[in-house]
């Protein structure tokens, strides 16, 4: 560090920026990891793991929050005619107590989580590659405040192959 004052300055600058940031400046982020082409055989099914990452400092309500007033994380997929979405399996939430509600446990996702979807292609499905689109709706909070519900796009390709 002594030999590199520029590096020390950059680190100090980053610390200053982090300290100067106010809570309203932060934006909760949930991003989906890219997935390769999914293959499903006509007449069969395939499980697709959709991996998401929540920005550090934030958590989102799980698919089954403990109050009807809380907004659950929901994946909605629009499958092409050749494929159906047979099942969507959400992970269990972590039961966590926060400083703002020490007597109440909330069911949340934080860090990385994965939603497994089961795609099915009927036996008569035409071979080809089709887009699957949809949205992930979530509502994020940090340690002292919450952000309005938000949706992010979900998109991947599915290839139907003949038996």
């Amino acid at each position: 560090m002594r030999k590199n004052p520029a590096l020390a300055l950059i680190l100090l600058l980053m610390a200053a920026i982090a300290l100067a940031q106010s809570p309203g400046d932060k934006v909760p982020s949930v991003v989906m990891a890219p997935i390769g082409n999914v293959q499903v055989r006509a007449g069969a099914s395939a499980t697709v793991n959709l991996d998401f990452r929540i920005g550090s400092e934030f958590h989102i309500s799980s698919h089954t929050p403990k109050s009807e007033l809380l907004i659950p994380t929901v994946l909605k997929l629009n499958a092409p005619d050749q494929v159906t979405v047979a099942d969507v399996k959400y992970p269990a939430g972590q039961d966590v107590t926060f400083p703002f509600s020490p007597d109440e446990k909330l069911s949340v996702y934080s860090g990385d989580f994965s939603i497994d979807t089961v795609l099915k292609a009927p036996a008569n499905a035409a071979a080809g590659t089709y887009p699957v689109t949809g949205t992930l709706r979530f509502q994020a909070c940090d340690h002292s405040a919450c952000y309005p519900p938000k949706s992010i796009p979900v998109q991947f390709q599915v290839t139907v192959v003949k038996k």
Binding site: A20, S22, P23, G24, L69, L70, C141
Partner: protein
């Protein structure tokens, strides 16, 4: 070499200044995870007219002369739940001094659900149904809870975002109550006042 040292010192001072301003902006860090940010102090609070849960239209400017605590919240915001009973207590305690608490629900829920939630929280003050317009007017309120403290003259005394401790909220309420309101006279009133002043002067002569 000497020049490099000077540049280094200048940059170091700049970084220290940024650190200091960061601490100033984020002064609630001293008290833990609670935040007080933004610098809207002294700006006029945008006027609005919103429906309350019972259907009454409420206009902010009707409260000129009162100290207004304007709290944006939502039923899906657990930290907001913590503050609401405090606001109800403060409303009880300081109503006689001129405090008016107004809650703005930034929810898509049915008003009946919001009303039930507010009742469970012991809310004793009007709850208004928020709109995108009022959110935009107040600087795109995205981070809940967000509370504006509006002085008796209609200017913003403070803005607090995120859950704070009750002591800090009460301090802001007291500061807001200490503001004064001098009713501004209409041009006709000013003219009439000037005429009265002028005729008194003539009479004295």
């Amino acid at each position: 070499m000497k020049r490099n040292a000077l540049v280094f010192v200048a940059l170091f001072v700049a970084v220290l200044a940024m650190l200091a301003s960061g601490k100033y902006l984020d002064r609630s860090r001293k008290h833990g995870p609670l935040k007080l940010v933004g610098n809207v102090q002294g700006l006029p609070a945008p006027d609005f007219q919103l429906s309350s849960l019972d259907g009454t239209r409420i206009k902010l400017s009707d409260y000129r002369g009162k100290a207004v605590l304007l709290n944006f919240w939502a039923t899906w915001c657990p930290p907001c739940k913590v503050e609401m009973p405090w606001f109800a207590d403060l409303q009880k305690q300081y109503a006689k001094d001129g405090l008016v608490v107004l809650g703005v629900a930034m929810d898509d829920s049915e008003p009946a659900k919001i009303a039930q939630f507010a009742s469970e929280m012991g809310v004793n003050y009007p709850v208004l149904l928020g709109t995108d317009q009022v959110s935009d007017d107040y600087g795109d309120v995205q981070y809940l809870p967000t509370t504006f403290y509006i002085g008796r003259d209609g200017t913003i005394v403070d803005k607090m975002t995120g859950l704070l401790d009750r002591k800090e909220i009460e301090e802001a309420v007291r500061k807001t109550l200490s503001t004064t309101h001098r009713p501004t006279s209409s041009p006709q009133q000013s003219q009439a006042a000037a005429e009265v002043k002028s005729s008194s002067k003539d009479a004295a002569q």
